[in-house]
Every structure is written in structure tokens, then in C-alpha cells.
Amino acid sequence: MKSSLWSGGLSALLVAFSAGCGGGALDTDVRDVNEFLAAHGAGRASGAPARPSVALPSEERWEEDPSEAPKILAKPLHAEAAVRLSLLMNRDLRASMYELGIARGRVVQAGLLPNPEIEVSLRAPQDPFQELQADIGIEYDISRVILMPLRKGAAEAELAAERVRVAGEVLDTAYRARVAFYEVQARQGVLDLRSRALAAFQAGFAAAEELHRVGNLPDVDLATQRAAVEAARIEVAEAENTLLDARERLNLAIGLSGEKTSWTAPDPLPPPEVDTIDAAGGEKKALAASLELAEIAGRMQAAGKRVGMHRAEGRLPHLSGGFHGENDGRAWEIGGHVTVGLPIFDRAQGRVISAQSELGALRERYVATATAVRANLRMAQNRVESAGRRARHYRDALLPAREKALAETLLQYNAMQVGVFQVLETQRRLTEAGIAYTETLLEYWKARAALDQVLAGRHRALGLAPPGVGSAGMGGGAESSAGH
């Protein structure tokens, strides 16, 4: 289901791009990429619900902002709307689409026949009795014609790899937007809860002020309450700044600026879903769907073709041929010639070595990437399971327990066993549990998005590394700060 949605979106995107480029050949690329995505399944976590479509309208002009964007922005945002906006408006994604055109151009260029070369010369003999003599010749690079299919094959293989890379960019763009949106939801929730904690401290300070005013509370207790309020204010300010950062990350992921950044996202993070993780089948799906592996495979194919091409270049004597006409003033003499460059010294050994090394490097990169895909899949699965269990525990056990503790503390207050400050302290613990729940929910939804991403074919830049662990082996992704 998801693969078709992704491929649909990608298809529309590429169609739109091709229209903008005016090349028309992108239609073929879109079709190929869609077929690739469909063939690889772009699998999903077992039991996970399908996401809404992210397809771009094909009639949009690529150089202009799509007309759909303002309509989406006029309403409160939700995760899928953010994803759709990112595919509509993200400029890096558009740049990638142009880069696909570069590769297409190389294919076209590789398939063009070489131009013939014509040589004309005039000679004025010193013998006054002789007529002006003219030579004319035409030269054609036969070697290039012979090697043209090899060059074109290599360029087409690069184009195919580039198509896969761009498809991956689409997935990455949508992933970044989704995760950034979750971050916004979480940061809004945390800010609300931090503000609630501040209100609790302020209530405690108000009580302390009143008790101090009537002589029941010493200065030290009042000062302590005041200090707690001021510390809580800083926490609220930090939460506000974190939210602003999160909003900007989403703006960046979508490609928004100016007035367009005044969107709202009122919904809190949804509760965790019940996930059934297919640990064994997941790796197979992820490897089959991996666009990174497909891209490397494509580039390996291109490199292989380049090895063959360079070997052929090295072994094939340089051939060029032509016709020659000479007019000695009385008549034309016509003949032909063939030039043969002997492959004695330069047999393209250097290019062959480079191409072979590139092929070898890609082969190793392929294996390394497959290892990284498996590791990232397992990491995502583990994180989904762990964060999901913890989030459900927060929701089903800890938060009710904290609420019960607050209710019981209130009864103890009614029984004059504890004071207003303990009541507020218990309320703050409930708030802190709410903050921890929100953070865990964020971890869960990010892990869910990461798991979907791996199964869709992308394992880079998932940001799953725990604190203090670099992103090595995970595709060198950015967003390391979003991993937990």
C-alpha cells in the first residue's frame, strides 16, 4: 500500500519535473522509478497502518510554488499535511530532480554520433605554369562510433542509479518532514506541561507569600519557593526555545519562509499504536526495498560498464578514416585513408584501474550498506518496541498512578497530614510524568517513522543513535540530535 503511495508521489513529482525541464524524457525515469519502488515493495512494519498519499499534483509547474500549498497552510497542520507540503515545496528535493536531468543529458550525449571533420587546403605552386591546387578531405572518428554503445550503456546505468537516488531523496524529504512535525507536537506538549509546572510553583509561591505575610512562614521558606519559581521560568523559556527550534526544523524540512511559517499544529502526539514487529521477515523486506542498495547496484553496473569501456578503449587501436580529394588544377584525384593509432603505450591502463577500483569500492559499499540496513532495521524495531512499551506503561500505569497519588495526597491534605506544598509537589510529579510520557511518545513516533523508512528503502539519516553514539554505520546521517 505504502509503496504505491510513495511511488505515486514520486511519479507525479517526476512527471512535473519533466514538464518543467521540458525534456520529456523524465517520464521514462518516473515510470522506471515507480516500477522499481513497486518491485521492491517499499515494505511497512507488519500491522502498521498505511499513511495517506504524498503525491504531488502533476499539473504544477516545477518552478512555481504549487497552488495547493496555501490551502494546506490555511488549516491546522497534521503530520501527513506536513509531508505533502514538503514534497510540494522542498527546494533541495527540486534540486535533486534537476540533477536527474544532468544524468539524463549525459545519456543523450553519450548516444550522439561524432561529427565528421572536413579539411580544405589551397596551395599556390611556385611554378607559374601550374594552376592553383586545392585539397579537400573528410575525417571521421571510427573508434568513437565503435565505443558509443559502451559509453551510452555506462551513462544509462548512471542514470538508473540517479533515478534511485532521487527516489530516495523523496523518501528522505518526507521522513524529515514527518519527524520534524512529531518534534513540534512533542515540544508544544512539553511547553504546555512546563508551563503547568511553573503554575504549580507559582501557586506554591503564592501560598508561601500569603503565609509569610501573616507571619506563618520564615523568610527562608519564602525564598526557597521563590527560587523554585524562577528556576521553573527558565525551564519554560528553554521549552519555548526548543519549540521554536522544532518549528524552524519543520519550516526547513518543508521549505517554508516568511508569512508561510505562521502555521499552527494544535494536535498532541497520538498515543502509541499496537505494533507487531516481524523481526525475521523485516530484514528481508528492508534489504529488498533498500534504495541505497539499489543505487549502489546501479552504480556498480555503471562502473562495470566503464571498466569494459575503458578496456575496449585501451585495446582498440584508435581508428579514424576519411576521404581525400586533390585537385591539381586539371582534375580531381580522389582517395581514402585510415589512421590507426597503435595501442602500444597508452592502453587506458589508468582509467581501467580507476574504474576497477570504483567497482571494488562499490562492491564493498554494497555489503557495508546491507549490514547497516539490517542494523538500522533492528535498531528501529527495538526502539519501536521499547518506546512503545514504555509509552503504554506511562499511559496505562505511571500516569494513573501519579493521578492516584495526587488524589490520595489531597485526601491526606484534607486530613491535615500534609500541607499545600506537598499537594503541589505531587501535582508537579504528575506533570513531570506527563513530560516523560511526551518525550517517550516522541521517541516512539520517531522510531515508527524510522522503521517505516527502512522498510520503504532508506536507512540513512534516521537519527536513531542513542546519546553519545555517532551515526557511523548508519549512512552518515545528519539530525543526530533527533535520535532520542
Binding site: 503547568r196 503554575a199 504549580a200 507559582q202 501557586a203 503564592a206 501560598a207 507569600e209 500569603e210 503565609l211 505575610r213 501573616v214 507571619g215 506563618n216 512562614l217 495526587l406 490520595e408 489531597l410 485526601l411 491526606q412 491534605y413 484534607n414 486530613a415 491535615m416 497530614q417 500534609v418 500541607g419 499545600v420 506544598f421 506537598q422 499537594v423 503541589l424 501535582q427
Partner: protein, 434 residues
Amino acid sequence: MDRRDFVKIGAAIGGALVASEALAQGAPEKNAGKRARRPGPFPGGQPAVVTPNGATLKLVEKDGVKIGHLVAMPVKHTFTPGLEAECWGYNGRVHGPTIEVVEGDRVRFYVTNRLPEPTTVHWHGVILPCGMDGVAGLTQKPIEPKDTHVYEFTFSKAGTFMYHPHYDEMTQMALGMVGMIVVHPKNPRGPRVDRDFALVTHEWAIRAGARRPDPNEMKDFNVLTFNAKAYPGTEPLVVGKGERVRIRLGNLSAMDHHPIHIHGLAFETTWTDGGEIPVTARHPDTTVLVPTGSVRVIEFVPTESGDWAMHCHMTHHIMNQMGHGFPVMVGANAAAIDKRVQALVPDYMTMGQAGMGGMDDMKMPVPKNSIPMRGGKGPFSTIDMGGMFTILKVRDDPDAEDGKGWYAHPKGTVADKADSTKMKADGIDPDVTF
């Protein structure tokens, strides 16, 4: 001449003596001797001891030895309606039954241990063979769970004593294992009493909502009791006007002494657990300090009918489960606090800003199994005391009272709202400032 002989001499002499006793107590002569004294079952006609909210141990006499059986065991005990706790006691009771014997009685007490740990019984204040003193390790082996030990000795001295374990005292006494011992004199001296009560004072740490006293507590005791009952669960002491009344007060609290105060009369301390106080050493009091680990016996003749308060004068000892974590709210403006707190905890309401009286009437929801600020119903309003508080009911006809009825005040004898006209006539300005 012992008491029996004294009674046989005749009413005339007896009457004269009673009159003199009443004078000795400071009672108006008109009240003395109004009631016919009923001889009790003990030497000299002394009445049997009444243990309010308690019982007396059944003793069977065989071959000149009085035999009793104490079973140490867990007991579910109700301190007052609303507060029940898992305690330890004897014979299904908290506290244990009062042992009542006569000076010179030889006794044999079987003590069965149904506790999860060993125990002993120490006969506090009793002079007996060292091996019967009940101190684990020092004078005997502990009584292991399910075992029964036997103690046998002679009560050689009259007086009021107590019993309690001397194994893991902190836990076992904190959970309720104490009891009173009354040894009537074989040849009583002095005036015979008409009513004889035994009250053991005790203190407990039971957190509001908990169901077991905390033996580890050293200072924060929140349930204070007479005979293991907190007011309003305490049975009143019903006595007759002009009767001579004896109250035996024992204190087996963990940490606190109790200044026991009785309203409407003065009394003399006549005995301690060390023996009888010479008449010449006695003096009138309205409050007697009962140190922990001690007995004080007081006697008095009430001359004023009514319902009189009898309580420990430590004010926290007449509160039920008052907490110590509550800040002083007196004088605070509740509105300044409630607005902010209720935004976070809607059911919160500031309390105590005008003092804590009347809390019982607020009927705030409180933790299960707790009696904070619980008082009793009085004839005029809620009695906002609890804990170590009971009522001495002095009546013209005490035998007709069941202790539940309130005293009917003669007209004009109850303090009431002052009449402004009368105030002015008396030169009292209600709006006077200082």
C-alpha cells in the same frame, strides 16, 4: 483490724468515718454519705475493678493457686469507629485483660505465644522471684512461637502494676501488648471506694490510611488512648455524686508522659506502682503526671453532677491523627491561595486559616481507615477533642445510667450568649478596645 472487721463494727461508726473521708477530700459535708455504699467482692468490701473498654482476666482457683491463661496474638482492633488496625494483644483483646487478685494470692499464669516471633511477659512493678520476671535472655528463654511458658509466683504486695513483654519491647508494646494488674490489699486501710477504674494510657503511630501501628516511631505519635480507645471510642466513667472513686492510671506509652487532668473536682494521688503514699504526703491536684512506665492511683469524691472532661493535658494528645506536616494557616487569606492551586488541583480548599476548630464538621473526604480531626457528638455541638479523652459522668443515680445520656443541666447553669442589656447594666462594653 482489717476491712472486714471494720465493716462489721456498725453503721454509726462507719457513717462517721465516711463523713470524715469526704471532708478529707474537700467535699461538702452535705454530699457525703448520701449514697448507700455497696460492699464489693474483695477484702474490706472493695469493689471489683472496672476496666472501661476492657475486661478482667478469668482466673480459676485450684489447690490454692489462681490460674490464668494469657495468649499473645495478633488482634484486629478498633480504636474508634473509622480506625481499625492490625495490632498485637492478649486473649483477642487490645490491650490485654486486667489481672485482678488479692495480696498474698499465689498465681500461675500460662502464656501461649501465637505471635510470629518470641515473647515473654514481664510483671511490671511486681516483686517476685527473679526467674519469673520475664526478661528474655536475662531471666528466661524467650517463649518461642506456638510454645507456652508458665509463670508462678505470689503477689506479696498490694498495689497497681502492669504487664508487658520484655522481648522486642519496642515492637510488641507499640503494637499493643500491655495490661494492668490490680492487687487488692488483704487488709485495706483508709476509706473504702465505691468505684474503682483501671485505665492504661498508650500512644501509637498510625499514619492516616495505614492499618498497622509503626513500632519504629520515636516522636510522632498520632493516636493517644485510654485502654486502647481514642475518643469518641472511649467508654465514659459513670460515678455517683458523693461516691469515693479510685482511678488507676498506668502509662506504657513508648515515649511520652501524660498529665491527666479531670474537670470539676480535685483528687489526691494515693498510690504509685511502688506502693501506697502516706496520707501525710498527699496533696490535692487536678492534674496528675503519669510518667511512662509508671502507675498513679488517684482518689476523689465528686460533688458536682455533670459530664466532666478527663484528658491528657498535652493538647496534641487530644487530637486524632493530627499530622505534623501541615503548615500554620491561621490568618491566611484563603482566596489568595485557592485561586492558583485550584487551577491545578480543583478539589483543593485552604483550611485552617481561621483556626482548626470545627474541622470535624467540614466532613472533608479523608484517607480510608483514618480519623483525623475526629471528635464526638456533644449535647451542644461537636466535641472537637479526640485521643486521650474520656468523660467522667457524675450522676445522682449512676447505676441507672448507661453512659450514653447527657447530663441535664439545671436551668440557668449553662454559659450562654450574654444579653447586651445586662452587659451594659454591668458596665461591660462589648466593643471595648485595648
